[in-house]
């Protein structure tokens, strides 16, 4: 058992826990998009970023991966953290302006959409990778993976073709936060 401070509150945690787990264990909310407690943490959406101070040095880290440590000080809602979160959400909203999940997150975090004035795309998939990990870790099938690089990255089956390995368990569709991945007539429909 070790103790750390989150938003001024002293908290007990076990070695090996992440800051996100420690915060949630005492009811402190940190927003996440690519995290799910049933799956390995991935650290891609960066929304759960928090400010940590360790040995006198302060830095931003993602709480879903950063391990707790004795004496660690965590700020989950500092100005620096809020700035980063609003920037990330703004970028995601420009990618998927129609996403209800993103819009409600923006409302919760008090972020005004369109502040950066980006051109609006019409995507649905935010590439959080929950479906990829669910397929790999829950269904143990690895039908889904990422293809392409950078802005061309997509969730895909091999060669974008229907996969015989898919057992239609629908874990991917269930876990998708933006409903970008669906099943139609029992068939897996990849995000556009």
């Amino acid at each position: 058992m070790l103790t750390l401070t989150i938003d001024g509150k002293e908290i007990g945690a076990h070695e090996g826990m992440t800051v996100l787990e420690a915060a949630r264990s005492v009811g402190i909310q940190i927003p996440t998009l690519c995290h799910h407690e049933a799956l390995t943490s991935y650290g891609a959406c960066r929304l759960c970023s928090v400010e940590v101070t360790q040995r006198g040095r302060t830095k931003l880290v993602v709480s879903c991966l950063f391990p707790v440590a004795q004496g660690l000080e965590v700020q989950t809602n500092s100005a620096r953290v809020r700035n980063l979160r609003s920037g990330i959400l703004e970028l995601l909203l420009a990618r998927c302006p129609g996403s209800e999940e993103l819009q409600s997150l923006a409302t919760t975090l008090g972020i005004k959409q369109g502040e950066f004035g980006f051109a609006q795309d019409s995507g649905k998939c935010i590439l959080c990778g929950l479906c990829v990990r669910a397929c790999q870790e829950i269904a143990e099938k690895s039908v889904l993976s990422f293809a392409g690089r950078g802005i061309d990255r997509r969730v895909a089956t091999p060669f974008y073709k229907p996969s015989d390995d898919c057992i239609t368990c629908r874990a991917c569709a269930f876990i998708c936060p933006t409903r970008a991945i669906r099943f139609e007539g029992g068939k897996l429909m990849l995000p556009d």
């Binding site: 960066r46 880290v61 420009a94 802005i151």
Partner: protein, 625 residues
């Protein structure tokens, strides 16, 4: 040195290594003529392969093969003047040599001792011709503790390397020092990682040595991918044994028995020379089981990179080595504790490894005499862009930018003005002329918003548009982003869109603030160093060349005349003599002749702004604004 000696006897002790060295040196006749030719990628591209062939044929036809040796070496750095040839022992330096020059060189400078003036280097500043290699200003002002050896060895000959004292540091380390003593010596030398981060190498090794786990890995990062940077290629191509020796010493220090070269696949010569080096070192018992008769064993494999820029980042490189997609992961648990296959791993860059044997040979005190307080030793920079002497430059840390660019680099071509220098690769910052006095080391470059990076140095002249430069690097990084994290993937896309709009005359006054905010999101939020530093070109150009952004946005004008959408061409009728050159050159038929001696007429709606008319006009009658 005679490269034809090929030893295959396994060396069982340091004494046997020393005996081999002495026998190689003794067989070498110091008065014999050796034609040293750079066979690095730069000179090969300039035609060195034909020059080498021509020398060999000429020597054969003149029956001189026994009297004259030809040595193909790695890159000495003066790529601008390749193919480079040095005639030893007199050290006559011939540059831009072509196969047609060979019979004359043999007849005049090899058989007789005449100098061919035409092939000498002529200093453009005072028109002085220089005969000897060591007197060429480009070399004279450098401190070439690493690169200097490139000219001494044929990279495919382990005997050449042994002759100059190669592997003697390894012998000393294995038989006279404990691993901890090696680490302490590297710590005392204050060697810092040359790949970009500048992390203290000794501290890295120490942490890896103390990390839990019986299997540990040594990795050489040779995935050099910065546009315009090629120092690691030159070292690995030109002196692969120095890198290998550094790795074996590192392995002994951290307690590793297995290592990898991760070499960019686009460097075929580096891959080949590293392969030969590993093979030969194994044959001689300098690599493999029971090295030099000690009980220390170390094995090395060569892995070719998959072509992703991000694989130069340590965690991506390790994922790629494991056979996975090369994507980074969080480094909250460092790779020295859990790296390749979750085992403690020491990853260093090519240049860092090449420094190791030199430090152990000469001692940490000697090394500490070179450089600044916190950055010791030398650094190799690849000096490219608008510079007279393109090439590789090795200088002590702390050398001022102006000394590198003007004294060694020979300044800006065609009498143009210096505008900026970008250091540190695509994620580096652009440093303006007011900061040319800056001493170059890890800390000073960081303070002004740039970085050392791996040592790229791109010089820009007055004709460069800084918004266009920022756009170029953002586009490069956008294409190389792996796409895993939101700030890098989405942020660079939006930055690219905004910069494109500004350069095309669609910029908005709020764009500068948006770029600044996005820069913070990238710097603070991105997962790996690629994304965290990707905004540097934008931030530094906004800091030092903000007025250029403003002119693009507010006046829809590109002061450097680069951004095509913002340029206008006009015929100055007073100056035009109606010669019709521009009419012929114009690909879009936008210029019409109105008869002899009558000024031509331009239809602006047809003009594609290619600038062909501007380039061909002899009367300066085309105005560009």
């Amino acid at each position: 040195m005679i490269t034809s000696i090929r030893s295959t006897v396994r060396l069982g002790s340091p004494l046997q290594l020393e005996a081999l060295r002495e026998s190689i040196v003794q067989k070498n006749d110091p008065s014999k003529c050796v034609i040293v030719i750079c066979a690095g990628t730069g000179c090969l591209a300039a035609g060195a392969a034909d020059v080498i062939r021509a020398f060999k044929e000429e020597l054969k036809s003149k029956n001189l093969e026994d009297r004259v040796d030809v040595k193909e070496t790695g890159c000495p750095g003066f790529c601008e003047r390749g193919p480079l040839v040095v005639l030893r022992p007199r050290n006559i330096f011939y540059q831009q040599v072509t196969p047609q020059d060979i019979p004359e060189i043999i007849a005049e400078s090899v058989i007789q001792d005449k100098i061919i003036d035409r092939l000498l280097f002529c200093d453009p500043r005072d028109n002085r011709t220089i005969i000897h290699e060591e007197e060429v200003p480009f070399y004279e002002k450098q401190t070439r503790i690493i690169l200097g050896n490139n000219e001494e060895v044929d990279p495919t000959s382990i005997e050449d390397y042994i002759a100059i004292g190669g592997y003697s540091s390894l012998a000393k380390v294995l038989f006279e020092m404990t691993p901890q003593e090696v680490i302490d010596e590297i710590k005392r030398s204050k060697l810092r990682g040359r790949g970009g981060g500048g992390f203290p190498t000794g501290v890295k090794w120490d942490t890896c040595r103390n990390a839990h786990g019986s299997t540990k890995y040594i990795i050489c990062n040779a995935d050099e991918g910065d546009p315009g940077a090629f120092m690691d290629r030159a070292i690995l191509e030109g002196n692969p044994h120095s890198v290998l020796e550094g790795m074996i010493i590192g392995a002994y220090a951290v307690g590793s028995n297995e290592g990898y070269f991760y070499v960019r696949n686009e460097y075929p010569l580096a891959v080949e020379n590293a392969r030969i080096a590993v093979e030969r070192a194994e044959e001689l018992g300098l690599l493999g089981d029971d090295i030099l008769g000690s009980d220390f064993s170390f094995h090395v494999k060569i892995n070719r990179g998959g072509g992703a820029f991000v694989c130069g980042e340590s965690t991506s490189l390790m994922a790629s080595l494991e056979g996975k997609v090369g994507e980074p992961r969080a480094k909250y648990i460092h790779t020295v504790e859990r790296g390749l296959w979750d085992c403690p791993s020491t990853l260093n860059n090519v240049e860092t490894w090449a420094n190791v044997p030199i430090i152990l040979k000469n001692g940490a005190d000697w090394y500490c005499d070179i450089g600044t307080e916190e950055s010791k030793g030398t650094k190799i920079f690849s000096l490219v862009g608008k510079i007279n002497n393109t090439g590789l430059v090795e200088v002590p840390m702390g050398t001022r930018l102006e000394d590198i660019i003007f004294n060694i680099g020979g300044g800006i071509p065609n009498g143009k003005m210096f505008k900026a220098v970008q250091t540190g690769g695509p994620s580096g910052g652009c440093i303006p002329s007011s900061m040319l006095h800056l001493p170059v080391d890890f800390d000073e470059l960081g303070k002004v918003g740039s970085m050392m990076g791996s040592g790229g140095m791109i010089v820009m002249d007055e004709d460069t548009c800084m918004v266009d430069v920022a756009k170029y690097f953002v586009n490069f990084l956008e294409g190389e982003s792996c796409g895993k994290c939101v700030p890098c993937r989405e942020g660079l896309k939006r930055m690219g869109q905004i910069l494109a709009a500004i350069t095309e005359g669609r910029g908005r006054e709020t764009d500068i603030i948006t770029l600044e905010r996005l820069s913070v999101v990238l710097k603070e939020g991105a997962l790996c160093a690629l994304g965290q530093t990707a905004a540097n070109p934008v931030m530094s150009t906004l800091q030092y060349f903000r007025d250029e952004y403003e002119v693009h946005i507010k006046e829809k004008r590109c002061p450097a005349g680069v951004c095509r959408a913002l340029i206008r061409y006009e015929i100055i009728t007073d100056k035009c003599v109606g010669c019709g050159l521009c009419v012929k050159a114009c690909p879009s038929e936008a210029i019409v002749s109105m008869g002899k001696k009558e000024p031509v007429v331009m239809d602006e709606s047809k003009c594609i702004k290619c600038g062909a008319c501007f380039d061909v006009c002899r009367m300066d009658a085309v105005d560009k604004e």
